[in-house]
């Protein structure tokens, strides 16, 4: 069975839930799996709607994953009006815009009843440091329980409303979130038989080169 298009779903969500502002995230790759960005405030409501709506019936939350987007410096050229040599001109100027990083939770939804899918929804935190809360969808789909715990463990997204948010893969007392892109591993590369550049740098800190006779 073929699912409605993303635009139709978006319109129906906006109709059904006032204030919800889903946003379509494009995907240029051949897979063409576009996704729907939900605002955290209405995410649980929207999720319930997606699960219970008779045409969608997305009762099966297949995959939940986190993504870490670092701060990004976007370089673009902006046309500005400037007075050059007394004449006002329109000049292109390079501007560096900083897009603050954020963490993202991605849910892949399917329908077991109607056998369609996937619908991909995304939740974003405000930033990567302190405002890293999103609502948990575990009350809607229990299948998200361990996967959200895993995202909490590895990415540090805090899921509000999760029944049992503890570390799942690393031990209690582990301080870092190792899947983040800026995670630095404990330095225990005592030696490395295959010389990668990065590893060579690390090994240099440990070993002084052999003294030449």
């Amino acid at each position: 069975m073929v699912m409605e298009t993303l635009e139709q779903i978006k319109a129906r969500i906006e109709n059904a839930i006032s204030g919800a502002k889903p946003e379509i995230i494009p995907n240029e790759s051949p897979s063409a799996q576009r996704s729907l960005l939900l605002d955290p405030a209405h995410a649980v409501e929207v999720a319930k709607f997606l699960r219970d709506d008779s045409q969608l019936r997305l009762d099966y939350c297949s995959n939940v994953t986190g993504v870490d987007w670092l701060d990004l410096i976007i370089k673009e050229k902006v046309k500005v009006k400037k007075v050059v040599e007394g004449v006002e001109k329109e000049v292109e100027e390079p501007v560096e815009r900083k897009r603050p990083g954020y963490l993202e939770a991605v849910y892949h939804l399917y329908s077991m009843a109607l056998k369609h899918g996937p619908l991909i929804i995304r939740l974003r935190t405000e930033n990567r440091a302190d405002k890293n809360h999103v609502p948990s969808l575990t009350p809607v789909w229990r299948g998200a329980e361990f996967q959200e715990r895993e995202i909490y463990d590895l990415y540090g997204i805090i899921f509000d409303g999760h029944p049992d948010l503890r570390r799942i893969l690393m031990w209690e007392g582990f301080a870092d979130h190792p899947m983040r892109k800026d995670y630095v591993e404990p330095d225990d590369y005592e030696y490395e038989p295959t010389p990668h550049d990065e590893v060579l740098e690390k090994t240099k800190q440990h070993h002084s080169p052999e003294p030449k006779p």
């Binding site: 790759s29 297949s62 995959n63 994953t65 993504v67 991605v106 789909w141 361990f146 893969l169």
Partner: protein, 392 residues
């Protein structure tokens, strides 16, 4: 009491919990036992913190991570192709289907289409993998039930025959690393199809023998029927997939739903159980093996000649366009999916495995509550987990 002090294992939480009656008075004690990470029945390094009232389970918390070997992190720091051997080591009983799922996802991401012969080879190897996995699972389940190895020995005898096939095809018994984006690595060696045909032909006979040994065994029936019941609505809500879902009576097989590869060309049925207990899970796997044999017979009959790799696919400098893709297959254990985000570089920006084993464990506590310790072991056995995939 004599159990108050802990044994010299600081990590395990050996403690006595008060057990209260309905009027609030203390009555006896509950026993907290950490089963695992080294326990003969946990299929690897998995721990269940079990609270027992006598022999009845009143609480069970699974503890993961003892085999968390950072597959995803490593994959994000290396090229797309270099992750292929790592996928072998996810679910180390079925490397072929892991390869397939990953190749399928990358093909979605990069828009590749494997040629017909490659699709046939994938189906053959994938279904052989399913046979291996289900046979071993039944063996391990019986081992957990205390059958002292005999069914497991028979299962592994058959497994060796299929591993011989994999070895002559890919050079490795377990870690095949065989599939490539847009096809397969090498073509079938001479005589392989005949050898495979012989193995598949003898398999129904083996299944008959196996069933004669086990299926109507009164002890097996008494131990498994009505144990670990999983209702279908909970199964769907908890994202259970694979034979475990179908044992609960939900008709959802990705081979039928997505028709990935060329599964729509084959005639096979999806067995469904009505009770969702351990016995159903056991039987569904046996019936699935028979269906796999059917698929294999058709595939081995129809396999065409031709190239095995999409000419568009390139091994060096493989950089998919910016974007993301989620591809999934019906692995022997359930839905095995790979979620990839490409940022245009040779390495994936995000690489995620959707592990069926981990997610199928979501309902472990629900199934085990109120059962005996002895049942916990076989319920876990019937879920079919491989820790490499649970913890990745």
């Amino acid at each position: 009491m004599f159990m108050e002090t802990a044994i010299d294992t600081p990590e395990s939480k050996y403690e006595i919990l008060p057990k209260t009656l309905s009027n609030g008075e203390m009555d006896g004690e509950l026993l907290e036992v950490a089963m695992g990470p080294q326990h003969p029945s946990t299929h690897g390094v998995f721990r269940m913190d079990v609270v027992l009232d006598g022999e009845k389970v009143v609480k069970l918390k699974p503890v993961f991570g003892y085999l968390h070997r950072n597959h995803e992190k490593i994959a994000e720091n290396t090229t797309y192709l270099a992750s292929m051997p790592y996928t072998d080591r996810l679910d180390y009983l079925c490397s072929m289907t892991n390869n397939w799922a990953y190749a399928l996802s990358v093909e979605k991401l990069a828009g590749l289409q494997p040629p017909e012969r490659a699709e046939y080879i994938r189906i053959i190897t994938g279904e052989l993998t399913r046979l291996v996995n289900h046979t071993c699972l039944v063996g391990f389940l019986l081992q957990d039930m205390g059958a002292l190895g005999t069914p497991l020995m028979y299962a592994f005898r058959e497994r060796e025959m299929i591993l011989d096939l994999f070895e002559s095809l890919s050079g490795s018994r377990m870690m095949c690393n065989y599939m490539r984006f847009g096809g397969c690595r090498v073509d079938l060696p001479a005589g392989w199809l005949e050898q495979a045909k012989r193995a598949v032909d003898s398999y129904s006979g083996f299944l008959d023998e196996f069933e004669k040994l086990l299926t109507e065994n009164e002890i097996l029936v008494a131990r498994t029927q009505g144990i670990g019941v999983l209702p279908p609505d909970l199964a769907v809500n908890a994202s259970i997939t694979g034979p475990m879902l179908r044992a609960s009576g939900v008709n959802y097989d990705i081979r039928k739903v997505d028709k990935y590869g060329i599964y729509d060309r084959f005639e096979f049925r999806v067995p469904l159980g009505d009770h969702g207990d351990v016995y159903d899970r056991y039987m569904i796997r046996l019936l699935e093996m028979r269906e796999s044999v059917k698929i294999l017979n058709q595939a081995l009959r129809d396999i065409p000649a031709g190239p095995i790799v999409d000419p568009k696919a390139k091994l060096r400098g493989f950089r998919p366009k910016v974007g993301e893709a989620y591809g999934r297959i019906e692995g022997p254990k359930g839905e095995l999916g790979f979620y990839l985000i490409s940022d245009g570089t040779p390495n994936p920006y995000r690489y995620r495995v959707r592990p069926p084993s981990l997610i199928n464990l979501t309902v472990l506590e629900d199934m085990c509550l109120g059962q005996d310790v002895a049942d916990v072991v076989i319920i876990l056995g019937s879920v079919d987990i491989v820790l490499g995939e649970v913890d990745r």
